[in-house]
């Protein structure tokens, strides 16, 4: 009997995430502009707003002691940031307005050459790099490092960054967003208050900017609450990557498609791999797979391990050492999945949260930065004397500015590309070459309009092909979680919401899907229903579970990975 993860909805109601302020007014913490998420979008917003405040001292006065606050659930900015990444410096140049040169930015170097391959288990066929994929003028970066750099810039621009602080609830009253409630700290496994229990606080602001990144906890709730859903539901891909020290420098950017993913339409395995040089002595490589895949036994982490056994990658990694590992989802719905409006009274949405990602080009960082900067400009205008940020129309200028920007035109342009190449298949005009190389087994996929969790699950013996981890080239999940720097406190409530028990296929699909081994299916017992055992402290908050039938909520602030090189 075919089951789907969507048949087991998680015990979660968006209403839990929306609330009116509960602290007495004099205990609420008041800030001018509140930004949720110290990623590229949130920090660009803080930096831009700080620039504008430099020339507006009276407004700065009026905004009080803390004109700009950025809350971040990770241990420090960068701890939860992960991407490839090849960055288009355009938005950064605009953000720093000539005050910074390229050399000042934490890049590893320009893209010098690139190759795109179609892989089979033992060989590779070169395909010309498609127009959407050309990376000339772009630079390799570690998003985590870029985040740390932008955080310092934001602090110099006057922002107060509040790390280890989870945004638990969106404060809404009278139809407008007032701010957030931060998460409690010091609760035990069963929700009990431990001796050092510290309740969250109501953080109120004139304007709230949600820049939470993929699977944004409050972003999803806000979209639902304010009826902002776009034409298509959002869908995601899961990326799992590693950073390696290598013996010989890699001098080009590599993308692959084909093996180890399977071409047959029934599998719906769309994605590919990337391998980028980070200076002379490091590389990063990763695997990206659309989460609408159907095989219970597909494990993106293990597919990455398998990928490394290909001669192309073996050669690159020979004599090297794994330095880091991580995983994160990427919104893949593109233009048609964007919310119909990216603002609501008192609220602005930026970055990956609403899905500003160019799927065929696999780029989102510069859109995040640009959207953050535009949000700052709209917030600034809406805070001028005589304006209030929640009157109807007050924040319209944000959507207008976005529509006028390269963000919109880029995403619109590749909307067609996406239709042609299918959701998750991001190699643009290489399709023709790919079809030749794969001897026609590569079909263009019909435009996906369904959420990932409604795909019916199938079973193959895929797991037999995963390599046994050898601890040198290939690694198991637990040692990978360790390599992400994750030291999450165990004695806290579980932040993962899933139905339990579930059909065996669903439970096993989750266990394989999760790169951090959060879910395990207890052996034996009934063949149809299984109890899923959850180890929340392994979680690296990639968000895959939300795409495939459960719901990730933010754990206690400071939990999760401590990425530095991803």
């Amino acid at each position: 009997m075919a089951v789907r993860p969507a048949d087991y909805p998680p015990p979660f109601d968006v209403a839990e995430v929306i609330a009116a302020p509960s602290d007495p007014p004099d205990e609420r913490i008041d800030v001018g502009l509140l930004i949720v998420g110290a990623g590229p979008a949130g920090l660009a917003c803080a930096i831009r707003f700080g620039q504008l405040l430099e020339d507006a001292p009276e407004l700065a006065e009026r905004l009080g002691d803390v004109p700009v606050a950025v809350v971040e659930k990770g241990k420090q900015p960068g701890s939860h940031l992960l991407s490839g990444a090849v960055v288009n410096p355009r938005a950064l140049r605009r953000l720093f307005r000539g005050r910074k040169r390229l050399e000042d930015l934490p890049f590893y170097g320009p893209v010098e050459a690139e190759s795109v391959y179609f892989l089979t288990p033992k060989s590779k066929t070169r395909i010309p790099a498609p127009p959407t994929m050309r990376n000339h003028g772009n630079h390799v970066a570690s998003l985590s490092q870029l985040g740390r750099f932008l955080a310092e810039e934001a602090e110099s621009a006057g922002a107060t960054i509040l790390p280890e602080t989870a945004a638990d609830r969106l404060l809404v009253e009278g139809g407008r967003v007032l701010g957030i409630r931060t998460g409690d700290k010091g609760r035990g496994r069963n929700g009990e208050e431990l001796p050092n229990f510290e309740p969250g606080s109501d953080l109120v602001a004139r304007v709230t900017v949600l820049a939470e990144g993929t699977q944004g906890h409050l972003t999803g709730a806000a979209i639902e609450q304010f009826g902002l859903e776009g034409e298509n539901p959002q869908v995601w891909a899961l990326g799992v990557k590693e950073v390696w020290r290598v013996a010989a420098p890699l001098r080009r950017v590599i993308h692959t498609m084909g093996w180890p993913l399977r071409a047959g339409a029934r599998y719906r395995e769309f994605g590919g791999s990337f391998c980028y040089p980070m200076g002379d002595d490091m590389v990063t490589l990763g695997m990206v797979v659309g989460l609408d895949y159907r095989d219970v036994e597909l494990s993106p982490h293990d597919v990455l391990q398998e990928l490394k056994t290909h001669p192309l990658f073996r050669r690159i990694l020979r004599g090297g050492e794994r330095l880091a590992w991580g995983a994160k989802t990427i919104p893949e719905g593109g233009f048609l999945s964007l919310p119909k409006r990216l603002h609501a009274p008192g609220l602005l949405l930026c970055g990956d949260g609403p899905g500003l990602v160019n799927v065929p080009a696999l780029k989102g960082i510069h859109y995040a930065i640009e959207s953050g900067a535009l949000a700052a400009e709209t917030a600034f205008a809406a805070l001028q004397p005589g304006q209030t940020p929640w009157t109807p129309g007050a924040l319209d200028s944000y959507d207008e500015a976005l529509r006028d920007s390269f963000v919109w035109s880029d995403l619109q342009e590749v909307r067609n590309m996406r239709q042609a190449f299918g959701k998750g298949f991001w190699l643009g005009g290489a399709l023709a070459g790919a079809m030749t190389a794969s001897k026609g087994r590569f079909p263009p996929k019909p435009l996906g309009t369904e959420p990932d969790a409604v795909q019916t699950l199938i079973r193959t013996k895929r797991a037999r092909r995963y390599p046994q981890p050898d601890g040198i080239l290939t690694f198991d999940k637990l040692s990978s979680v360790y390599a992400s720097g994750n030291k999450t406190r165990d004695d806290q409530p579980s932040h993962i919401r899933i139905a339990n028990p579930v059909a065996r296929d669903v439970g096993e699909a989750w266990a394989r899907m999760c790169p951090a081994q959060v879910y395990e299916v207890a052996d034996g017992r009934s063949a149809n229903e299984v109890t899923v055992q959850v180890t929340p402290s392994n979680c690296v908050q990639c968000g895959a579970i939300t795409a495939k039938g459960g719901r990730l909520t933010p754990p206690e602030g400071g939990s999760g990975p401590e990425y530095t090189l991803t």
């Binding site: 496994r189 198991d476 637990l478 979680v481 360790y482 406190r489 165990d490 180890t535 402290s537």
Partner: protein, 321 residues
Amino acid sequence: MSILVLLEHHGDELQKGSLSVLSKAASLGAGDVYGVVAGSGVRGLAAGAGKYGASKVFVADDPALEAPLPQPRVDVLAKLVEEQGIDTVLLAQSVLAADVAAGLAARLDAGLNWELVDLEEQDGKLVGTRPALADSVYVKVGWKDTPRIGIFRSGTFDPKETGGEAEVVDTPVQLEDFSSAATMVEQAHEEQQGPSIEDADVIVAGGRGLGGPENFSLVEELAKALGGAVAATRAVVDAGWYPYATQVGQTGKTVSPKLYIACGISGAIQHKVGMQSSSVIVAINKDPNAPIFEYSDLGVVGDVHEVVPKLTELVKQRKGS
């Protein structure tokens, strides 16, 4: 060279650790080796140190030294160093010794190297070896000047009887005001349930392979027979089988006992980092591919429910005899 070794005692016995360091000092053959015993009514302990290589043992006997507090001992050692021209003071790691050594270092402005696992004489100077970075690397350390102070990691050497007699010399005790300001109100209350896992020399740990919380009794029995403490993995603490205070691992405690017996533990890195510097690791697990076998000294592929009770019996027999 003249080396002075602090000989700690507990009850009526000189501590094994101190005697080990004394033997080691004697084996250097680098000069005179002396011991010092400090306490109240301890004169009788001094002569026994001769067997382990001390040619002379100083006795600082005074009621003010009855309580095992560090600061008065700093006074005693400092005075001996100055009056006897001692150039090297060696101690065996203990809670007391660590405080004494550091206080003495500040008193004399003398270099202190701790966690030593070896010591050699090279061209009239002493060179020590100590582990660093969770025992992943060994560092050679030295002293730029004298006097030198060194503390040895416990259990590094064994006491060696070389025969010989020691001259017992009484040394007058003069304490600074501040050194004797701290007073003992109650001494050495035993904890109710045996050693805590941080202090235990032997730890028996249980993991998911035990099958259920009721099987922790196997672990407890073996721990009791060995005089050790019980520890648990994150998985079983998460499942509520055993308390968090006993959790060993990345998000629990880090331990380095002389013996760590892992029962039904797979040994993923999150656990390994909490116990990898145990001197001897024995693992029992029915999965031959369990990662713990990669770093255990003795790996037993077997059923804990069969092996552990039998082992407990054998331990009881051997200890009894």
